[in-house]
């Protein structure tokens, strides 16, 4: 054990915990089904149904295998592969997030560089920021009159704040020395912004983007449950209506996996722009 690396030991422990958890889950559900043999009366009364409806992990794994073997099938509006549903959700998240980047970063630069702009815009930001993004949904549906665009708008509005505030904070915190270096080298405003301020503030900006993408992925599930049609959020709700809990558990797992991947992408971007002083 001593010779094993820390990572190796942690990995083994993770696998052991997973096996224990799945084993306990599997056993408790098979016991229920086996142990409580139902009388004819109970079956007729529909008792015991609810308990056995929670699927054991083996069923979920079979479901996962079926779904992941062919993730992109499309058999009508209510029967699409998990890959297609996730692709819808990801594309909404990326469009909303992309729009938020276009707004938040230039505006954040402005607020960070100009104390007047900061003071003038701060009250608006403070009022708008704590609003639950889903609260915008009715207004968005009324004004935009399109479910898909409304979902994108909700993603936009929830991802804009962390990016805006972090950009402003990062830009305002750029060391005066570095700006002086740019000034003594006669760099214009635009060149100073791109060659000094942007790289200096990049780690803080990326932190904001990472928070935003995390929130966006949380919100898209709820938004799609409301707007319906397509997407992983709609899929979860649809399977709940079908009482297909195996699919619900499987899609919950997929939401987690995709969220983790999105976070990992931004974590690596963040690492790429981070510098040591």
């Amino acid at each position: 054990m001593q010779t094993m690396s820390l990572n190796m030991r942690a990995a083994i422990l993770s696998v052991v915990l997973l096996v224990l958890f799945l084993g306990a889950w599997e056993i408790s559900i098979t016991r229920q089904i086996l142990g409580e043999a139902l009388t004819e009366y109970e079956i007729l009364m529909g008792l015991g149904q609810q308990r056995s409806a929670i699927p054991p992990p083996s069923d979920v794994m079979i479901k996962a295998w079926e779904q992941l073997r062919d993730p992109f099938y499309d058999a009508g509006p209510n029967d699409k592969g998990i890959g297609i549903q996730l692709a819808y959700s990801i594309s909404r998240v990326l469009s909303g997030f992309g729009l938020a980047v276009l707004v938040a970063i230039p505006l954040g630069f402005l607020i960070g560089m100009s104390p007047v702009a900061y003071k003038a815009l701060n009250p608006f930001i403070q009022v708008l920021r704590p609003i639950s993004p889903l609260a915008w949904m009715p207004l968005a549906l009324f004004i935009i009159q399109d479910a898909n665009s409304s979902a994108i708008f909700v993603i936009f509005i929830c991802s804009v704040w962390p990016m805006l505030l972090n950009t402003a904070f990062g830009v305002a915190g750029v060391r005066a020395d570095w700006v002086n270096v740019a000034r003594t080298h006669e760099l214009g405003n635009l060149r100073t912004a791109f060659t000094v301020i942007l790289p200096a503030a990049a780690p803080t900006i990326l932190t904001g983007m990472r928070i935003s993408i995390g929130i966006a992925w949380l919100v898209i599930v709820a938004a799609e449950m409301l707007v319906g049609g397509t997407g992983i959020g709609y899929y979860v709700w649809n399977e709940w209506n079908n009482l297909d809990l195996t699919s619900v558990i499987f899609s919950i797992l997929m939401i987690g996996v995709v969220g983790m991947l999105l976070d990992a992408i931004f974590a690596s971007l963040q690492r790429a722009v981070t510098y040591a002083e």
């Binding site: 020395d177 002086n180 270096v181 000034r183 003594t184 080298h185 006669e186 510098y275 040591a276 002083e277």
Partner: protein, 303 residues
């Protein structure tokens, strides 16, 4: 006598003192620097050395007065005035080489990439940075190496005037010694005009052609301009044997220890305050230097 390349005329700086009044840091300060001259300015903290430096760099506006370079009044920062800051001010996300090319690219915008890199590499080599070291980030360099990069960046831009703001203040004594020698070497190769702030008397004597002495603030002024009558090239180990060395050193110690206080707080009364030139030369018998302090006092100062 050559005309001054840089002339500072009746420079005054006042700040609000926080109680409704104003605090005059210095008033009507005037002095000049000739082309190719290495001038150090010595004075206690708070006498406005850094303010003068920032005005020369164009990073701060004086309350009144002008700075003329080549007969033209300067305003705002310019590539003609390179600055080496005390805390190096390297951009931490760029390698040592990129930090230098950053400056070179800003100075010579039409140069090809190869030319920029070759020029930067040459100046890094002049301060003793060669090989893989130049591709390291500042965080991977020692304090001394960082300051070398900063000096290389300033010299590579070939400014008309180089401003050094206590460049060795944060370095240990041994590193400081090596870099001082490198600075002297680079300076003698480039014939750059240099204006440097320092707290270190020995450093000033080793490097400077002339030392400007400032009285304590408020109402500080450049009281004396002491010529360093030591032949060049100077070696740290040899100049201490020169008869002028301790005479000059004693004069400086006396000024900073006693006279800077005695002369402090004198208002200019609207007069332009130019420094009085002091020339101490023990090799000839005609001059009458300051009375030498006792050797025990000298030792106490040395430690």
């Amino acid at each position: 006598m050559r005309k001054d390349f840089l002339s500072v005329e009746r420079l005054s700086q006042t700040f609000p003192d926080g109680a409704g009044g104003t605090l005059t840091v210095f008033e009507n300060a005037s002095f000049g620097i000739k082309k190719g001259e290495f001038v150090c300015i010595l004075g206690h903290s708070g006498c406005g050395k850094s303010t003068i430096m920032n005005v020369l760099a164009g990073l701060a506006e004086p309350t009144s007065g002008v700075v003329k370079m080549d007969g033209m009044a300067v305003s705002g920062p310019s590539l003609d005035r390179g600055v080496v800051f005390q805390n190096y001010s390297l951009l931490p996300w760029l390698s040592a080489l990129k930090n230098v090319t950053f400056g070179v690219k800003a100075r010579y915008r039409d140069w090809s990439r190869e030319k920029v890199v070759a020029h930067a590499t040459k100046y890094l080599a002049m301060v003793g940075l060669e090989g893989d070291v130049i591709h390291r980030k500042p965080s991977q360099l020692s304090g001394g190496m960082r300051q070398r990069v900063s000096i290389a960046r300033a010299f590579a831009n070939q400014p008309k005037l180089l401003l050094l703001d206590e460049p060795f203040g944060a370095l240990d004594a041994l590193t400081r010694g090596t870099i001082q020698e490198e600075l002297l070497k680079v300076w003698s190769q480039t014939e750059q005009t240099v204006f440097m702030i320092t707290h270190d008397i020995d450093e000033a004597i080793l490097l400077a052609d002339r030392i400007l002495l400032m009285t304590n603030g408020p109402f500080a002024r450049v009281a004396e301009s002491v010529e360093i009558t030591l032949p060049r090239p100077r070696e740290r180990t040899e100049i201490i044997n020169h008869p002028n060395y301790y005479a000059i050193r004693n004069h400086l110690v006396q000024f900073l220890g006693k006279r800077s206080k005695e002369l402090a707080g004198q208002r200019s009364g609207g007069e332009s305050q130019s420094p009085e030139t002091v020339r101490i030369d023990m090799t000839t018998t005609t001059t009458d230097p300051e009375p030498a302090p006792t050797p025990t006092l000298l030792k106490a100062v040395n430690t």
